[in-house]
């Protein structure tokens, strides 16, 4: 018999504590996970649902904030034809249990010990793991400059809007609207371009994290490399 799993490979029972709307299809879900070992900003969990007939489905969701004891916060966007995400986003009752494996992933992570300016590029719900980095940075009182460039379709598609409207020290938030901008926004709507990267810290010093749909990630990673940012300092995560 295989030995019992421990650490990140263990499946833990998680109870849904609260659900908070972020955008029309995006939710913040908080779960209580007994004996949660803690996690780093950028990590994710796999969530496993088991139907009455034993059928199981597993999907990955990013952790949106540093752990508070046994409580973890996930960002869940309901995919239009999704098998799991619409159920998690809107149906799973408060108090119900799912299984969670994690924390997972050691590549797309940032810790306050990582020196140098921090550049975060979010496309849509790709904001979730980057929000964890921003929150970890605020919690640590980091003095390194940080810019979040967040591409959203329209103002009502912006996650964490209230928190982002109040930037912390040495922090800059750039909102890029692709379809509809708020009145008075001087920028013409459209996807991120080289001009949106103006005034960022020098290439070679800044750590770049890019998260979002594959097209967004590839496009921004190309822009960054064209601007001189070395590939070793660009980390990406694609959401399906």
């Amino acid at each position: 018999m295989p030995s019992p799993p421990s650490g990140a490979s263990a499946w833990r029972t998680a109870r849904l504590l609260s659900r908070e709307p972020q955008i029309s299809t995006g939710r913040t879900l908080r779960f209580t996970v007994p004996d949660w070992p803690g996690h780093l900003a950028g990590q994710h969990v796999d969530v496993r649902l088991t139907a009455d007939d034993g059928y199981q489905a597993v999907r990955s969701y990013s952790l949106a904030a540093p752990a508070e004891g046994d409580t973890v916060e996930l960002g869940v966007q309901a995919a239009p034809d999704g098998e799991v995400s619409p159920y998690l986003a809107d149906v799973l009752p408060i108090g119900a249990e799912v299984e969670i494996q994690g924390p997972l992933g050691g590549w797309f992570i940032w810790t306050p010990r990582d020196a140098g300016p921090l550049l975060l590029f979010a496309g849509g719900c790709g904001i979730v793991p980057l929000m964890a980095m921003l929150r970890a940075r605020r919690a640590a009182g980091s003095a390194e400059p940080c810019t979040l460039l967040y591409s959203a379709r329209s103002p009502d598609e912006v996650w964490y809007a209230r928190e982002l409207a109040d930037p912390g020290p040495a922090e800059e938030i750039r909102l890029i609207y692709t379809r509809q901008a708020p009145p008075g926004d001087p920028r013409t709507t459209g996807r991120v371009g080289a001009q949106d990267l103006a005034g960022l810290p020098e290439p070679g010093s800044a750590r770049c994290y890019v998260c979002g749909p594959t097209g967004f990630v590839e496009h921004v990673a190309d822009l960054l490399q064209t601007a001189g940012h070395p590939r070793e300092l660009i980390r990406t995560e694609r959401f399906g």
Binding site: M1, P2, S3, P4, P5, A8, S9, W11, H44, V45, D46, T50, Q56, V58, S60, E99, Q101, G102, L104, G105, G106, W107, F108, T214, R235, T236, E237, R238, F239, G240
Partner: protein, 96 residues
Amino acid sequence: MPHDPAAFRLDGNALAGPLAPVFALDPTTALRVCPACRMQATVGELHVYGPEPGLTARCPGCSQLALRAVQQPGHLWLQLGTGQGAFRFTLPAAGG
């Protein structure tokens, strides 16, 4: 070429969970040098297709097959590289 950019939706970060039961260390930080194009990439940087019927990870430079992971109840099949054959790991009982 099986490489279809429209079908490619994930990256190697998504392999962390499926591979966690068989690696003592997080596999997504492991470095791979592609034998075909010599590009260096961590497992987290590989291009991944899936999730059904399994996860297929390819070199981000030339899309050569890097690994395949297929889950079935109680088992994980893992193929490393382009060679024939795969390793079947028996997993701990579900729900454990």
